[in-house]
Structures are given as structure tokens and as C-alpha cells.
């Protein structure tokens, strides 16, 4: 659990972070979003003390981070940055092993962990273990960057626009791999981005920052349907609001549980915009839904998708004006 209590940071006369308080729960995926200069990266880098706070307190699991040695604090957290920052003179294996080596893990344990991580991030260990960073594509480099951050099984993962420099296809696959990994490991993630679609897709809760202040902190659904200010509404964007609205719910959320239907089924976790796309592709208004074990979980109707939810009033108007 990460707690910020009235934390501030000034650089000269400029206030980068202005008395910000928030809590990230254990296992939560928290996205920090905002325009450039809003203070989101500063907040992230204060968590591992790369930037010292001027005022207020930052606590990890109740412990004030100033009571820990910065190096020890950082070794307990993963850290991924946009420009990756792999060590160019080290192999992929040695890069991933950075933190375990600093922590003095025995060699066989490090080796096994590297193999496990390479497989987790879809890089063939036999092919990539001994490769140097310059031999990898940008997407592969960031896969290694994520593996390096996860190597010592940190409880907290800090990510500063990790996928912003990647092409859309690579970005999407890394996003879903990250989602899968964090659901499996229960790692708390703090993720900075300026891309609202990425935020809506990944976050449990989104904190919107502007001019060093946190102006809204809410679930993706609330951000879409009840934006706290015009800035939040602008960040969401008016274009394709309806599809974004659908994307934050899954087929399981709106399927009619009692009904049954034959045919190729959608998994319950399919986002609703995909389900809509599937209906258009198949030319049907009804699709069967199955749960994780492949058992029937109901039927999704087109009318269920377009049916507006009671809390959609505010956001619906935003979309309507587009």
C-alpha cells in the first residue's frame, strides 16, 4: 500500500506537485494521467526517492520511505521507463539479473528466474538470453525492461510511460501481457501515461493530474461517465465516446445469465467494444458467452450494449455533443 500525505515538490519557484494526498491499495493498478508538466512523473519518481519530497509524508505499507536507505527501497520496487535504459554492455540475461545480483541471489536461482521471466514475456530464452540490447527491436527491449523490473519479485511496480514509444500493435500486446502478469502476481502497479485509452484499458483507478494537483481520482467507468472537470472530459476525448464506454465493461457484465445459445462463444472477460465488433463481423445481434472453464455463462444481446446505464447521464451528454 502506498500513501501520499500532503506531499509537495518545488523546483525553484515552480511547484511541480502541490499538497497531493492519495492512497494506492495493495494489488491495485493505479494510472496517473495528465498533460505534460502536470506532475505525474514527479509523483512516480518520489515513490522510489529518485526525487525527494519537500513536504508531507510518503508511506509504503505504513513505513515512511525516508526511514529506508534509497537503494534498499528501490530494490524492493520494479522500475520501468519510456526510454527503457537497458545496460548496452550487458547481455539480456545480465540486464534482467540486475536486482537479484544486487540482492546477492545464488546463481542457479537467478538463472531459473531469468528463464521464467523471458518465457513470461514471450521471448525465447535460448535465443535471447545471451543477446545484447542493440540486437533487439524496440518492443523486445521494453519486454526485457519489464522483465528486469519484475526480476526480484517486487510488491510494487513503477512504470513511467513504458509503452509510449512503441508501435500500436506492440503496445497493445505488452499492455495485455502486463495485465495478465499483474493479475497473476498481485503486484501493485503505479503507471504514468498521457494516453487515456491506455489508462482506461489498464487501470483499476485513474488519478488525473493538472498543475501539480490531483483533480480526479476514480474508476475508468466514473472517469468516462462523471468527469470532474472539462480537462478530464478533454482527456477522455469526445470521439468514439460510446466505444470507450463499452470498453470498460465486459461481456460477462451485461450477458443475460439464464439464456443459452449455440455457436462460437465469447469469453466473459471480452470487453464490450470487442463484443460489438464481433456482432458486426458475424452479422448477428446475439452472441453466446462462456466462463473461464468454457461453461455457458449466458447470451449477450445488441440491445444490452446500447442500453444506457443509470450513471451514464453526465458522460452521455458529453458524448452526445460530439
Amino acid at each position: 500500500m502506498i500513501q501520499f500525505e500532503r506531499v509537495s515538490k518545488r523546483f525553484g519557484s515552480w511547484t511541480a506537485v502541490d499538497t497531493v494526498s492519495f492512497t494506492v491499495d495493495e494489488g491495485e493498478f493505479r494510472v496517473l494521467i495528465g498533460p505534460s508538466g502536470s506532475g505525474k512523473s514527479t509523483v512516480l519518481r518520489m515513490i522510489n526517492r529518485l526525487i525527494p519530497a519537500d513536504g508531507g509524508a510518503i508511506r509504503i505499507d505504513g513505513e515512511d520511505i525516508v526511514s529506508l536507505k534509497p537503494e534498499e527501497l528501490r530494490r524492493r520496487m520494479g522500475y520501468v521507463i519510456q526510454s527503457v535504459g537497458l545496460f548496452p554492455h550487458w547481455t539480456v540475461e545480465r540486464n534482467i539479473a540486475t536486482v537479484p545480483a544486487l540482492l546477492g541471489w545464488p546463481k542457479p536461482r537467478i538463472r531459473d528466474r531469468v528463464t521464467e521471466l523471458l518465457e513470461m514475456l514471450n521471448l525465447d530464452p535460448r535465443r535471447y538470453r545471451g543477446a545484447y540490447p542493440h540486437q533487439l527491436s524496440g518492443g523486445q527491449q521494453q519486454r526485457v525492461g519489464v522483465a528486469r523490473a519484475l526480476a526480484a519479485e517486487p510488491r510494487i511496480l513503477l512504470m513511467d510511460e513504458p509503452f509510449s514509444a512503441l508501435d500500436p500493435i506492440t503496445r497493445a500486446s505488452l499492455q495485455s501481457e502486463l495485465s495478465a502478469i499483474r493479475h497473476r502476481t498481485g503486484t501493485t502497479v503505479v503507471f504514468v501515461t498521457h494516453d487515456m485509452d491506455e489508462a482506461l484499458r489498464l487501470a483499476d483507478r485513474i488519478a488525473v493530474m493538472d498543475h501539480g494537483r490531483m483533480i480526479q481520482c476514480a474508476t475508468p467507468l466514473e472517469i468516462l461517465t462523471r468527469p470532474a472537470s472539462p480537462l478530464v472530459r478533454d482527456l477522455v476525448g469526445r470521439e468514439e465516446w460510446g466505444l470507450k464506454r463499452l470498453a470498460v465493461e465486459t461481456a460477462g457484465d451485461r450477458a443475460r445469465r439464464q439464456e443459452r445459445l449455440g455457436g462460437i462463444a465469447l469469453p466473459v472477460e471480452t470487453p464490450l467494444h470487442r463484443a460489438l465488433s464481433e456482432m458486426v463481423a458475424r452479422g448477428t445481434e446475439r452472441l453466446p458467452v462462456v466462463d473461464g472453464d468454457g461453461r455457458p455463462a449466458g447470451v449477450l444481446h445488441l440491445s444490452d450494449l446500447v442500453r444506457s446505464m443509470p450513471d451514464d447521464a453526465a458522460g452521455g451528454q458529453a458524448g452526445g455533443r460530439a
Binding site: 522510489n48 529518485l50 534509497p70 537503494e71 534498499e72 527501497l73 528501490r74 530494490r75 522500475y79 521507463i81 526510454s83 527503457v84 535504459g85 537497458l86 545496460f87 548496452p88 554492455h89 550487458w90 547481455t91 540486475t98 536486482v99 544486487l102 543477446a131 545484447y132 542493440h134 540486437q135 525492461g145 528486469r148 523490473a149 513503477l158
Partner: protein
Amino acid sequence: MTGMAGMSPRDWLTDRLMLGMVALVALVLGMPSLKPLFAALYPGLDRPLYEADSFVRLTLDHMALVGGSSLAAILIGTGAGIAVTRPWGREFRGLLETVATMGQTFPPVAVLALAVPVIGFGPEPALIALTLYALLPVVENTVAGLEGVAPAVLDAARGLGMGPAEVLFRVELPLAAPVILAGVRTAVIINVGTAAIASTVGAKTLGLPIIVGLNGSNQAYVIQGALIVAALAVVIDAGFDRLAGWLTRWSNA
């Protein structure tokens, strides 16, 4: 780079380091047997071969002077270069660069002349002059090499929990090494030549036959000294080439 065991005869012939070493050893040991050649080339000379000191002795002393001054310059130069790129040493950077530039713009002959009254004749003033002379390229390249390390790499190193010493020795110095080595190479090659001048203040180097030859209009002495200095420079340069390839082997993988 293949080891010597894996070299074919063709590799031996095209390897600069190997050829240079063969030439150097042959010249140093075989110079006395070239006496008839120099006698034939300069029939007017009474003594066509420099025999006051053995060329082996002169070469070893020359190498010791270059080695000693270069080592001192490397230790002081890299140490100072590291210091002024740390947060606590940044303000001394201007001062260091001024001192190092002065060290190099000051002619070594002048340093020698100034050092003699203080320290006396012998290899010591030469050691000081050569060290000062070699300092600038080492300092400049150390600073340039350390500043050339990508900020993202440093951010990642710190963010993952490396302390200042770990960042310096595991990341910064290995990545700056090729640039630092280029500075050391320049410094050492310059010193191989400049060390010859040190013979004017009584240091026994390969410059001795050259200076004696110039004073006594004995061109054969000058050629004998110069040939070995040139061979030594080739060997050292080729050695640095090999070392540079080894330091950046990861970038050719």
C-alpha cells in the same frame, strides 16, 4: 578477436601488432649487426653505430619513462575526470580543464628546463613533464566518456537500486571505457615521441642517440634512435587497437 593459437600464417603477416613487435625486437637486438650497413651508407663517419649505451637498455628505460608517466597521467586524469562529473565535484570542472590545458600548451622542453633547477638532472623532471603533458587528453576523454553515458541508462541504474559506486563501476566506467581509452592512447603515443626530448635533461631514452647525433652531425645515430622510437610507437598503437576491440566486443556481437 582470435587468440594466437588460432592464427594462420597469413594472419601473422597481416597483424600489425605482431609485425610491429617482430620489427621492434629485431631492431633493438640486431642494431649492432647493422653496423656494416650504416658504415656503407655514411662512409664519412668514424663511428657509424651508437655504442655508448646498449639499445636494449635505452629501449627499456624509454618504455619505463613512458609507462611511468602515462600511468601517473591515467591515475590522476581519470580520477580527476570522475571527480568533476560527480555532484560534489562539478564546480571544479572549469578549474581542472584550465590546468590540464595549460599542462599541454606548456612546451615539454620548458617544463623540463623549469624542473631541472628544482629537482636536478635525471629521469624525474622528465617524468613530471611527460605526466603533465599526457594529462589533458586523459582528463578530456574521461569527462566526455562519462557524460556520453545515456541519461536513461543512469536513470534505470539508480531506479533499480544501484548505489553511486555501483553505478560508477558497473555502468558508467565500462560504457565510458572506449572513449577514455582513446584519450589514453593519444597520451601514450605523444609521450613515446616526447620522451625522446627528455634526454636533454639527462634521462636515458631512445632520444639520446638522436640528440648526440644531432649535436655531432652523425645522421646514423639519429636514424638508429628514430627507427626504434617509430617501431615502439607502432607496437603501442596496435596494442591499443586490440584493447579497444576487446572493450567494445559487446557492440559487435
